[in-house]
Symmetry: C2
Subunit: 374 residues, 2 copies
Amino acid sequence: MTVRIGVIGGGQLARMMIAPAVELGLDLRVLAEDEGMAAQLAATAVGDYRDLDTVRAFAADVDVITFDHEHVPQDVLRALVADGVQVHPGPDALQYAQDKLVMRARLAELGVPQPEWAAVCDAAELQAFIDENGGAAVVKTPRGGYDGKGVRVVRAGSEAEDWFSTLSDGDALLAEELVSFTRELAQQVARRPSGDIVAYPLVETVQRDGVCAEVIAPAPGTTDRHVLVAERIGRQIAEGLGVTGMLAVELFETDDERILVNELAMRPHNSGHWSQEGAVTGQFEQHLRAVADLPLGSTRPRAPWSVMVNILGGPTEGALEDRFTQALAEHPEAKVHTYGKAPRPGRKVGHVNVTGDDLDDVVYTARAAADEFL
Amino acid sequence: MTVRIGVIGGGQLARMMIAPAVELGLDLRVLAEDEGMAAQLAATAVGDYRDLDTVRAFAADVDVITFDHEHVPQDVLRALVADGVQVHPGPDALQYAQDKLVMRARLAELGVPQPEWAAVCDAAELQAFIDENGGAAVVKTPRGGYDGKGVRVVRAGSEAEDWFSTLSDGDALLAEELVSFTRELAQQVARRPSGDIVAYPLVETVQRDGVCAEVIAPAPGTTDRHVLVAERIGRQIAEGLGVTGMLAVELFETDDERILVNELAMRPHNSGHWSQEGAVTGQFEQHLRAVADLPLGSTRPRAPWSVMVNILGGPTEGALEDRFTQALAEHPEAKVHTYGKAPRPGRKVGHVNVTGDDLDDVVYTARAAADEFL
């Protein structure tokens, strides 16, 4: 019997699982939020992932459930598990990707290096944290943030009053040390339910306006020690949190040469898009293999350097098509991946991957191809 | 508007167009022969490709028509063209892939090197050809043969009596010189309607029982002259026959160091499966770009060596699944591509691609992974 993998969420991550699913012969089925989503081709159901009946009906026809995003509520996930559905990553792991306060507390238990942090319930507590941590803090809503949303740098407790005023009783915001970092890195690992883990090369990620703009694999000029530390952190978190499937650990490389955990994602992640062409086993194939409990593939890079540059939405659909053709014409080495999304300014509508022997060349070509869409 | 590409035929070649179509954002639609074909996921219609009304209805909703195979009748193709449908490759080109006698005559006009050949209408004419060509001939039915079917080596005119007896008046068989060759090669090129052509590296193909078993890219130990000759032949045929999309030219490398054209295919071809991982632009993506008249991609190899080994069908579906898991477990470097076909002895149900720096290693791994399915 062909393994049937159900993906909750019809965005670009689900879309990019289609290609490896077809080639491996896995039966991919998507529960999409709407008609016409990025993963439309594999959509076998449309509905609300927060509704247990909808999700339960979808799960009835698959062998394993996985995700395009981390927003499926815990009660829905736990009801599936109680039904006997294979869910990867499972609710116990996903809670750490869903709630940044829970994640910080668990990483502290594991002894994983991370920024100073505290749960703060009001402006006074936040001010106290700021006073103890050099006069500034990063405040985050523990749940629901992504791509820079739900994150704010503050220098006074009062600057988060609007967020505090909407908190329910007993809830808190996450305050984090404003880390002085030289650059951001990301470590990806994949873990099977059976426990096998493989690690990808450590990569450098460049953020602009809180959104991932560019990824270089491997991270240039990294010390051997940092490569080892990052991989160990990735493996430790995957095991310690019981992650199944792909795990992305976003990291700070600090001015004083430490590696600190910034964020976690338990799914294929923007920091791993380079692996589609850049690694023997791309992260979307690896995620499918991991959640289906199939043997994991080699993470060996196919080239000395791989660079990914995101395509952020331009003005109109028509123009995007023309630019697409222009990008292909000017850059025959570029692999252009599109998400089938209507462009809006700043919206991720695709990315470009380039691989090669010379980093400067690879960076130049990837940026130039992505720039055709500006 | 997203380009809509309609593929006639739902086999593995159409299936393998799905992955690049999704990534490029092309809208792939397949007219499949039946439910549950290899390209089922992209099938938007099921019907007989020989029936004009069926094909016309399918073509009404796409921007360009292309093919999984070369069997669509000329009258159907020409009716589409008369309707104003973009058909790539067009009927004028496809006739040369549909009829080996027409192909031989046209290649002779172009001056392309090929085996001695003749149209023979009866056993006496075949005997005369045999007598003139060293006492043997390869007899082929001009139409409908593939994977060794419709091909027979004979040493007497009488050995093809059964085929002659079924010929219509005025029809003939193709008699070809039995070429003494050291090995078989294949040259692929892609050509856009606008005339742009790109060539792939020359590859070596190994046939067993008339079926492609293994491909090595690039062909090991090839002289520079043969590489140039093969590429020139590929370009000359693509231009001379007006091919649009992928063209595969199967070649003999003879004992006396000549390159002769054996067969043509005007679509992605088994000899190019290696390019899925082995080249910057795989042949399925390239075919889509070419038939949609989009700029062609780089054909640069991603590794010094790529090897493709076909998986020929084993006994049962259940066993194939177990072997699949075993192949992934034992060979993390192998890229296993499956066609979603029920296995039958000798039936192509998938292939394995491996790339790397050392030819012996790459050949060993690809064969070992494919052998897991025996």
